[in-house]
Symmetry: D2
Subunit: 207 residues, 4 copies
């Protein structure tokens, strides 16, 4: 297989990319200057050294620190965050969007995925062991509230049920307060096309 | 203009219908039996006699009653509905969807439209006069709470602001309690694609 | 079932219309004046009397003629059309679009449908008997060329094969010249997304 | 700007990629192994050395040859191709799709772009100078036919007109035979939605 085909194959595995667009990516790179390509290659290589996984929240973060001893992201290390509040999300992109909204000042925990319906080994899909451990850890500032912030899709709701069940089973009466994000009208919603659950919850949360 | 063209023109004015689909409708009718067409024509004609506008909530409803004196829809006439609670919606389709959800047991009021942004004569777009009058009416069961259930779109929010402002200006301290539907995650929502307002409200309404 | 529901049911059977849009159609009619509704009802009723099916080409056409003896559409009756050339199409909408293009001056024949792949009784899906009869008819101006103008979709190609096979089997050496529409680039096409057949044909038909 | 943001910025410039998908690409890379990332970086770097631009047709091709003297792609160097026939296309992806169709055995010429409508300096958008030179070149096998294979879009047709005009003006009576791809029905087309040009051409090219 030649170089163009090899690169096309790799781009095909990028999320949401089909064979045609993968090929277009290669031709796009070919129309760039050699120095632009070199920059891209170097940045990709640097990911291995500079991007680390936080040992507390498991999110990816960039760091120049060489020391391998400390592996805590800036948010987990920030003394001004409300450390007793832990928001559990599926992926880094969810964390980013929530953090960007500016509405939350606590800490996060990245599950690293979600649990498909009928999945027989959910513990292999998400970091449930690590989450339980995080909640059990006897740190000076224990978690008092866990907020599950998962997609309001069937898979998201299945993940939510699984996480709630596991926390209850493992931590029993030592479990922190558990809550989930409120339901209601989200921006852009038209009432004509809303489902009954959304309407009922919007009514309950009227203000 | 021949008959087929005339009918096509009328179907073109149906909501969401372009010239091609309008023409398809005519051909669809042509492939039906003469008796099917006659039934459709009769039902359309009957709309004038059988469908009335409720004098209280202004929604359309079907009635065989000949008497012109009573013009109240079954919901407004139902003694088991919570009469002190009034939900204000833009259109009949919104009412239908909310009523179908089964989450509300009060009465409704149909504004008959919404107020576009920068509209100079909003009172011509919606039944604001009629709403104020409805709230002023000295009935035995006064409205204690008005729930605005409008689309969470720019036009819906503009309508909401206008209605709230008018009620406050007209009814002053005699105004009922005013509320709007709660915001939060609506069914199907993915956190990666949520806006800041939705996230903040979902967080505030967590449960 | 009440009137609004009955009408909604009928509109749901219109091509491409789901339950929500069907209901919107009814509300659209309700916001019209009674005289507008009456006009629509009358036009629909008139379809039965004024729209006839041409006995030659089977297309629908509008006519004020009461006489039942003559049932020929203006195109089939037009002495200036090239009567030896017959274009066979699936539906009235196809005929309309081709006639609007102004590129053809012969006569038409409407099959009234198409033959799905693996259909066991294709003769029940399209007017193949009537087409054979039309080609056999000893009129003063016999058909010398049949042009099949069918969609370039799997179902259209299946219909084409079936019609060609039937004409060959039934008319044998008395069959007129048979042709199909040329293939090539159609307006809007991008070469990057063209299939091999289209490219090969476009190359063969280069000019 | 940190590493993740820098990489996101670069992926945003990939064709058809918005900010959200660009970010997803970075997270996708982060979930890969360090060796997978290294492989991608190396392949991108190798593009500079191994992918060359053919000096005859200007398409990109992969080559291990170190010698800088020969810069001819395998197709231009292939003695079995019909060298008197030259197909002119906009981009490499068009060339690829046409070559994959197997319908053409001549040589190609990549314009490297297209000419937008009202563009004042079309010679800066495509390799028109190089094309004229290629046609003028006194090689042992002169080009006898130029086939323009451009998109049937407004921009593609504008490019076609410009190229035809320039060849005529520059080469005058020494110009090779010029042709464009044939028009007609392309795969998937439905007659109901075809434009007049396509129908007329399909009729002319019937077979």
């Amino acid at each position: 297989m030649d170089l163009i085909s090899k690169l096309t194959e790799i781009f095909r595995r990028f999320p949401g990319i089909g064979p045609r667009q993968a090929k277009r990516f290669v031709y796009h790179l070919l129309t760039q200057s050699a120095s632009d390509r070199k920059e891209l290659a170097e940045l990709i290589t640097e990911l291995s050294g500079l991007v680390k996984t936080c040992s507390r929240c498991f999110r990816f973060y960039t760091s120049n620190e060489k020391a391998k001893s400390i592996r805590e992201c800036p948010i987990c290390a920030d003394p001004h965050r409300a450390r007793e509040s832990l928001m559990v999300v599926s992926r880094d992109v969810d964390f980013e969007n929530i953090e960007k909204s500016g509405g939350f000042n606590g800490l996060y925990f990245i599950l690293g995925g979600s649990v498909p319906i009928l999945e027989k080994e959910p513990m292999k899909r998400i970091r449930i062991r690590e989450l339980i451990e995080r909640l059990r850890a006897e740190t000076d500032e224990p978690v008092r509230e866990v907020i599950l912030a998962l997609n309001l899709t069937p898979e998201g709701e299945n993940t939510q049920e699984y996480v709630l069940r596991e926390i209850a089973a493992e931590l029993k009466d030592k479990a922190p307060k558990l809550s989930v994000l409120g339901r209601g009208l989200s921006t852009g919603l038209e009432l004509e096309y809303s489902d009954a659950d959304t309407i009922k919850n919007a009514l309950k949360n009227r203000y």
